[in-house]
């Protein structure tokens, strides 16, 4: 019973990983690729780690919870830093983008300084 639930979580996680990587290849823009890949790959790897927590013994489950904690804290932070760096280094958005408040705000601030 435990093994069946663990395998179900494992394969849902693998499906999310695969969809995230397809998004990384198919989307037209750095920001959209970051959006597609980071969220779904983090969720997919988190579900794979959850399957270890369900199936494994106590020390192994403790290590898996630790990895889950690290991943869920560090991955959004890294994604935020990369998106900010791309925006600051003037990488163009996709032409269908309708709203970019961060760049407007940054340009307004640099104009006020000079």
């Amino acid at each position: 019973m435990k093994e069946t639930i663990s395998h179900i979580f494992l394969f849902i996680g693998l499906l999310f990983d695969l969809l995230g990587c397809i998004g990384l290849v198919r989307f037209p823009d750095v920001y959209l690729r970051l959006m597609a890949a980071t969220k779904s790959v983090t969720l997919g790897t988190g579900l794979i780690l959850l399957s270890v927590v369900i199936a494994g013994s106590a020390p192994v489950a403790a290590k898996a919870v630790l990895v889950l904690l690290f991943i869920s804290v560090t991955s959004p932070t890294a994604a935020h830093a990369l998106a900010r760096a791309s925006s600051v280094s003037d990488i163009k958005m996709w032409e269908g983008t309708v709203c970019d408040k961060f760049t407007e705000d940054r340009k307004r601030k640099t104009n006020e300084k000079t």
Binding site: H7, L10, F11, G13, L14, D17, L18, G20, C21, I22, L24, V25, V30, R33, L34, A37, T38, V41, T42, G44, T45, I48, L49, V52, G56, P59, V60, K63, A64, L66, V67, F70, I71, T74, S75, T77, A78, A79, A81, L82, R84, A85, S86, V88, S89, D90, I91
Partner: protein
């Protein structure tokens, strides 16, 4: 059963490597490297399922932290230089 999971993760890594090789700008490549780091953690978990050796989860902890530091360093570098290829 687990072999199927390995095949899916190898396809994921191949898609990330495609984006690293092809990506038009440097930040595309940085994003793909960050994602590849998380997929390596998933590889470590599948190796634990295959062998039953808890050592692989320690490797996963170290890899998650090092991948995070690498992504932050790349982001800082991009922000300072502003280069584009």
């Amino acid at each position: 059963m687990i072999i199927f999971g390995f095949i899916i993760l190898i396809i994921c890594s191949a898609l990330c490597l495609y984006r690293i090789g092809r990506g038009p700008t440097a930040s595309d490549r940085s994003v793909a490297i960050d994602i590849l780091g998380i997929i390596v953690v998933a590889f470590c978990v599948l190796l634990y399922f295959k062998t039953g050796d808890g050592f692989y989860l320690i490797v996963a902890i170290a890899w998650a932290l090092l991948s995070f530091i690498g992504a932050l360093a790349l982001a800082k570098f991009l922000e300072d230089k502003g280069f584009d290829e």
